[in-house]
Amino acid sequence: MKSLYTWSAILAIVFASVVGDVLLARAMKQVGDVGALWRRSGLGTVIRRTLGNPYFLLGVTAMAVAFFSLLFALSWGDVSLVAPAAASLTFIGNAVAAKIFLHERVDRRRWIAAGLVAAGVALLAG
């Protein structure tokens, strides 16, 4: 029963994280290279441009959902299971979502990495 709770919380983390990561990645690509922008226009501009981006605000909301799911999961399960399982499944979900929604070039190198991570997650769960 406890492990059912833990895995439900892990799946909630994964879904919210993938949605959040994709939105945040899109937002930061719109903001542009933070280091260069900071040197040219100052930290205030970086913060204003980031906080004013609607994708960023939606992404943070999704991440907040993921964060509270993480708090629940950590109170039920071991950190060495919850954190890698959630983050790794998120990574696979993100590889698919980034290809579809962000049009990132997910090449063979990145797919093999996703496969290795999937195998690693299966072992962590066993």
Binding site: A36, L74, H103, R109, V121, L123
Partner: protein, 146 residues
């Protein structure tokens, strides 16, 4: 990739692992949160370990956003996955949780995946679309938003 950018990726890795570990430690002290007593989440934040964990996760967030501004999502996530190894070490030697051989193998496989991605380019170049920097430079030069 400049040295400064590698430092940002190291920051993402370390802040995430340290923040999660402190949260775990704090939440074990707080005890299980029941769905019927959601106010437990509020009290959990008052635990000092949880509070410091949250501060570290804020630092993680700042470095993560910086990395996403100049690298692909599918590059940043795996490139910062060495945090799992760090987490396992912390779980084993600081939190004294049991980490079985199979879990160690799983962690090793995940790390192998990291190696594959880290060797590739960090950013997808889209030949047909201008980058945010180029657009801004064009606007600055002409004063016209395209």
């Amino acid at each position: 990739m400049t040295f400064r950018k590698y430092l940002v990726l190291v920051g993402v890795t370390v802040f995430a692992a340290a923040g999660d570990s402190l949260l775990s430690h704090g939440m074990k002290q707080t005890g299980s949160i029941s769905v019927n007593h959601l106010q437990g989440v509020i009290f959990a934040v008052l635990n000092p370990w949880v509070a410091i964990g949250i501060l570290l996760l804020l630092a993680f967030f700042a470095t993560y956003m910086t990395a996403l501004s100049w690298a692909d999502l599918t590059y940043v996530l795996p490139a910062t996955s060495l945090g799992y190894v760090l987490l396992a070490l912390v779980a084993r030697f600081v939190l004294h949780e049991h980490v079985s051989p199979l879990r160690w193998l799983g962690i090793a496989l995940i790390t192998g995946g990291v190696g594959f991605v880290a060797g590739g380019p960090e950013l997808t170049k889209h030949p047909h679309t201008k980058s945010a920097e180029e657009k801004r430079a064009a606007v600055a030069a002409t004063g016209v938003e395209s």
